[in-house]
């Protein structure tokens, strides 16, 4: 059986990037042979202008669809790519983002309403996580934003949020 085709099948079925070492182990071929086959396979996909490409990512090789087809694929995953957030969730999220680490009681202090359900939703959506406990009566959980939060909102880090200190200074002038 042709090595190129075995690799193609492996790349197809793999659930993540496939390491060269794994391919070598499975096919029992040399690194040179495997590299040569991947290179040929990659070129073949490029030449026939396939909507699928072979890319090197995270230390391995992987199939992916070309960027041009994203609009169609996005439609297919419409449910998954739509993050559903209520306005109360958005408000709570903003408070956590700016005041992290923050306890539930502190968020409720700002919003004036119970936030336990909203916080739970935000944690489930992987936007907010617990990040330790506050050294105070009852040692309540402290909440902060996740990396996912930064990705969703297109931020490099929480430092990119408009500075809170600046706002506070303005407040003190009153």
């Amino acid at each position: 059986m042709e090595l190129k085709k075995i690799i193609e099948a492996l790349l197809f079925a793999s659930q993540g990037p496939l390491k060269i070492e794994t391919i070598i182990e499975i096919t029992e071929k040399s690194a040179a042979e495997v590299n040569q086959a991947i290179s040929e396979l990659k070129n073949a996909y490029e030449e026939k202008q396939s909507p699928i490409q072979i890319i090197e990512i995270a230390g391995g090789w992987q199939f992916s669809t070309k960027r041009d087809f994203a609009p169609f694929i996005r439609k297919l995953f419409k449910e998954e790519t739509t993050l559903k957030l209520s306005s109360s969730a958005l408000e709570t999220l903003a408070i956590v983002a700016y005041k992290q680490p923050i306890t539930r009681a502190e968020i409720e202090q700002v919003r004036g309403v119970e936030v336990i359900a909203v916080l739970k939703t935000l944690v489930e959506k992987n936007l907010v996580r617990t990040c330790g406990k506050k050294d105070t009566v009852g040692t309540p959980f402290l909440y902060g934003t996740t990396q996912q939060f930064l990705i969703y909102f297109g931020l490099k880090s929480t430092d990119e949020l408009p500075s809170l200190e600046e706002i506070n200074v303005e407040g003190e002038q009153q």
């Binding site: 099948a9 197809f12 079925a13 793999s14 659930q15 993540g16 992987q62 992916s64 669809t65 994203a70 694929i73 996005r74 995953f77 419409k78 998954e80 790519t81 739509t82 993050l83 559903k84 957030l85 209520s86 306005s87 109360s88 958005l90 408000e91 903003a94 408070i95 983002a97 700016y98 005041k99 202090q109 700002v110 919003r111 004036g112 990705i151 969703y152 909102f153 297109g154 949020l161 408009p162 809170l164 600046e166 706002i167 506070n168 303005e170 407040g171 009153q174």
Partner: protein, 233 residues
Amino acid sequence: MEYGIKLEIFEGPMDLLLHLIQKSDLDIYDIPISKITSEYLAYLNLMKEMNLEVAGDFLIMAATLMRIKSKMLLPQHEDEDEEEFEDPRAEITKRLLEYKKFKEASKVLKINLEKQKDVFFRKTQPEFTVEDFGIDVSLFDLMDAFRKVLEKAKKSSKEIIKEEFTIEDKIRIILSLLEGKKFVSFYSIFLKDESRYSVIITFLALLELIKISQIYVRQNEAFSEIRIYRKIS
């Protein structure tokens, strides 16, 4: 003993009965009920001897078989029409045939399953980036939510007697936040509002600024932050 090995594979009384019939190559349409009943009971005894729990289902079938057997022993009335005569075995034969059908069908399914296990599908979801995401909350939704908060606040406004900020104050704060900047985040203008009332005042200030065309609020792309821009006249 032969039974010993087969003991556990029976899926129930129907399976056992079918096995006993097929083992002796008996006609399912003309079951020698006496022979089958004694074999069935012998099997149940064996199960007991081996200290295996005999499920109730097996006992019910034993009772059924014995009932059929006794009915078979009753003399047939001579004047009875052949067609009207109902074979006491008819019911169990029907059930056995039905069961056998599905037992065969399950074998066919098993073959399908074996064939399919060599076929692999893709399990990986495409990786989405920020621009692939949309949000189900529009700015309008957000404002609407605030309006509701406002209504609620009106009802409980008696509690709040003293408030240090007025709408004018808040307008000034928002504009000062915008000073030297292209925009500020929608959320950032509420950050130092410690009470609901204060949030409402800020929001009213925001609406006022929009009304008098001092600022505009927009979301640049799906799921980016909502930003407040100063209008340059």
